[in-house]
Subunit: 279 residues, 2 copies
């Protein structure tokens, strides 16, 4: 596995790949969710690359950025074990050189859910993803369904700017009690970790009701809200039932909708989602 | 010369190029300025491509967009004569598909000069240039010094997003009386055409004073302003002496500065600039 720091090194390494390339962009502190992306990339491409970069542009607060867990050595071991060919782990100054002032924005799709609550977050995501697509020129790029809005926004970005890449969405990987894997889970105390299953329980309640024919968006949101309210350590930041691709709010629901929520547990914000009516 | 309409056709045609590619992005209605870009591209690359697209995103008013001159057939003849290999002339719906909402912005550099007077204009430029660089993957891209701010902004965009392309700036091509070539010149009446030399006369006055040692930015701007004021048909929109790369206003001047101005002549806005102290 080749590990590079600079963009020039990356370009040289990229130029040696003669077949299809799958890219797994990450912020490091890898868990089984990331590794499932790597496995999909490995199965579908001749070459697999990953990036490790905790992107300051997508954090709204310096505290949140500082608190984000990091373990580069372990990450590199894991990627090596999973037969990744190339890893780009640039410094901040390599990614955002002196005088940096260029940003990529996706407008409407970023106005709700996480984007609506975290000013600048989605601009950070779309800018870094654009930079990674330009740098790696992958044939396929892999994202987890856990960040549902991110996936929608990246799909729109790719279509709008005309990147010749297939965006592949991989299913959310969960702990046995339903908690979606996230690097942020490492910051939960034992009590908070127990409380954190409330996201999955809320989504499951909405899923059951949807399967039983409930098509009133407000009622489904109310159901999720009631579940979150049973957990004293949890505080709902948003609870939404939206259209799957446009992420617009819905009242009368079609056969497939996206149920998503963000919950604060102590200082940690957890997000999760389910596509209801998925076959 | 291959002429393509869709992005997919463009990608197929691009894939057949085995050597270096020079790109000349244009909005059509080609003049000798554009053709000098093509000639530079031809001399420096194995393959030469051009784009013709009147980009609605960089016009602030529908009238200005509608009034922009077009002559696709003549443009294609000229490009063919100049040994261009590939032309992309997409429809608007190909460039901005249904639901389009992704934009590339360069912040500080676009706040003054043309960018400061035309809200959205520079965002239109940076978005379309990004899309062209993604679509063509050129080794070199050619721009005219006449649009000095555009060149600065594109250079920043390329550095920031990490496009593997060399930005080549070609000198402004002028009529024998000094008027910088522009597709907009076609819209000038005979009287206005005569008045339009005022831009070059103002820049020349600043250039002479600078060569004679004048290093007070305000005085140089005053000189240019005086020249423009002698022309009843002309109305200065802005007159500026700025740093060459950052485009920031200057009082005490270094050895090289950018003198630029925009002048309204009737309904037509003309811009021009000179780098003073250029060796």
């Amino acid at each position: 596995m080749k590990i590079v720091k600079t963009l020039l090194e990356l370009r040289s390494a990229r130029a040696t790949f003669t077949g299809s390339l799958g890219l797994v962009p990450t912020m490091g502190y890898l868990h089984r969710g990331h590794l499932s992306l790597v496995q999909s990339a490995r199965a579908e491409n001749e070459f697999v690359a990953a990036s490790i970069f905790v992107n300051p542009a997508q954090f709204e607060s310096v505290d949140d950025l500082d608190d984000y867990p990091r373990d580069l050595e372990r990450d590199l071991d894991l990627l090596d074990t999973h037969n990744v060919d190339l890893v780009w782990a640039p410094d901040r100054s390599e990614m955002y050189p002196h005088g940096y002032q260029t940003y990529v924005t996706v407008n409407q799709l970023t106005s709700g859910l996480e984007g609506g609550r975290r000013p600048g977050h989605m601009r950070g995501v779309t800018t870094i993803v654009s930079k990674l697509l330009i740098a790696f020129r992958p044939d396929r790029a892999y994202f987890g369904q856990k960040d549902a809005q991110q996936v929608c926004v990246v799909r729109r970005l790719v279509a709008d700017l005309g990147f010749p890449v297939e965006v592949v969405t991989c299913p959310t990987v969960r702990e046995s009690d339903g908690l979606a894997l996230s690097s942020r889970n490492a910051r939960l105390s034992v009590d908070q970790r127990q409380a954190s299953t409330v996201l999955f329980r809320a989504l499951s309640a909405a899923s059951v009701a949807f399967a039983e024919g409930q098509r009133d968006g407000d009622k489904l949101c109310g159901l999720m809200s009631d579940v979150v309210a049973t957990e004293p350590l949890a505080d709902a930041r948003y609870i939404a039932i939206t259209e799957v691709e446009t992420l617009q709010d819905l009242r009368q629901l079609p056969e497939q909708v996206l149920a998503s929520l963000a919950v604060c547990i102590g200082q940690v914000v957890l997000i999760d989602n389910m596509v209801l009516g998925e076959t």
